[in-house]
């Protein structure tokens, strides 16, 4: 598991108040929403805001691509790092 993925898992747990879940419980390639971790649309908005605050990412909630970015932790890490690389 790379460092960014681990960091994102901790961010998800803290932001979404997943009290009974630890970083080790989240599979980087497992679905985050509906299936898998079972997050919902409010979680998606909350997570989007947390990513924006922490990493300065901006995603268009209406676009199809954002669904792909938010599909699993692995994709989120790619999304965040591509944003960081593009920025710097």
């Amino acid at each position: 598991m790379n460092e960014l993925e681990r960091e994102l898992k901790q961010l998800i747990i803290d932001t979404l108040e997943l009290e009974d879940i630890s970083v080790a419980d989240i599979d980087s390639h497992e679905a985050l929403f509906v299936e898998g971790l079972g997050l919902d649309s409010i979680d998606a908005l909350e997570l989007g805001l947390a990513l924006q605050k922490r990493y300065g990412t901006k995603g268009d909630a209406e676009s199809e691509k954002i669904k792909e970015h938010f599909a699993c932790v692995h994709n989120l890490a790619l999304f965040v790092s591509s944003h960081q690389n593009g920025d710097r």
């Binding site: 979404l16 108040e17 079972g38 409010i42 909350e46 805001l49 605050k53």
Partner: protein, 277 residues
């Protein structure tokens, strides 16, 4: 004067120090109940939904769930709270004041019917939910109207509040008297007297509850003989009412409102009351 008849079929109440029915009976008799502490039991709610509940929501649903039917039976509900999720709202306002983006979760859960929404999702019950900020009389009147309009034999009223956040404490004192000194939640399962004999699965023995009539009257004067048995002004009306319910000798109760008062009369009192002896 017109009046409404209701049956209180069951109840449950919670404060940080009093939880069980037995403790509430002691409290109603003026005894000091053995103190308990702990957190409200909301194990009936799946963890992914439970995390959405504030301390207020946990408390409210901890008294609602014991009175809800276990099965798929539908039950409309009235959620009544003077201040609702004020803690969340204050947090949002403070965020706004700092020009920071609002938390979508806190925003969506700050509305007055959010706790009822979480309950409906947890129970997969699409029955109507009403959330209001009113006194006890208007809450029960609303419940009676919903039972009548929807031909529902039962309805659950959940009444709950927390002390106001300290930033509002001065305001609350000057305008409507202080809010509750202590958090409380109380649920009443109501039935209408004209539907008590229905045989559609909800049929209940009409004897197994307190039958009361509720009517509107002039606000009582200070020397009125029907003042509430416990006149601590900071006691929530719902708790004053519970004490009245659990005190078999007291047949009438007047609870003051802004423009008029609510007059309660016990018309029949069944098993619950006698069990209280």
């Amino acid at each position: 004067m017109s009046s409404t008849s209701l049956i209180i079929k069951d109840w449950a109440a919670w404060t940080p120090s009093i939880h069980s029915a037995e403790q509430w009976q002691q409290w109603a008799r003026g005894q000091e109940p053995a103190q308990s502490d702990g957190t409200p039991d909301i194990s009936a709610i799946p963890p992914m939904l439970r995390r959405r509940l504030s301390s207020l929501g946990k408390m409210a649903l901890s008294v609602a769930f014991p009175l809800l039917p276990n099965s798929e039976d539908k039950l409309p509900c009235v959620f009544s709270s003077r201040h609702g999720e004020l803690e969340r709202t204050v947090g949002l306002l403070q965020t706004l004041a700092k020009h920071e983006p609002l938390s979508p979760m806190h925003f969506s859960l700050s509305v007055h019917n959010a706790i009822g929404g979480v309950m409906a999702i947890a129970r997969k019950d699409p029955s109507s939910i009403t959330a209001l900020a009113g006194d006890l009389g208007s809450t029960f009147l609303e419940a009676a109207a919903i039972m009548d309009e929807q031909s529902s034999p039962e309805i659950l009223c959940i009444i709950y509040d927390e002390p106001v956040p300290s930033i509002y404490a001065v305001q609350a004192q000057t305008e409507q008297g202080p809010g509750p000194q202590e958090a409380y939640a109380i649920a009443f399962l109501l039935g209408g007297t004209n539907t008590a004999l229905r045989e559609d699965g909800f049929s209940q023995n009409p004897e197994s509850g307190h039958q009361l009539t509720l009517s509107i009257c002039e606000s009582p004067t200070s020397d009125s003989p029907l003042q509430t048995p416990s006149n601590k002004s900071d006691e929530p009306q719902a708790l004053t009412f519970l004490k009245y319910l659990l005190t078999p000798d007291t047949s009438e109760l007047i609870l003051p409102g802004d423009r008029h008062a609510w007059h309660w009369v016990k018309t029949a009192s069944g098993i619950n009351a006698s069990a209280a002896q």
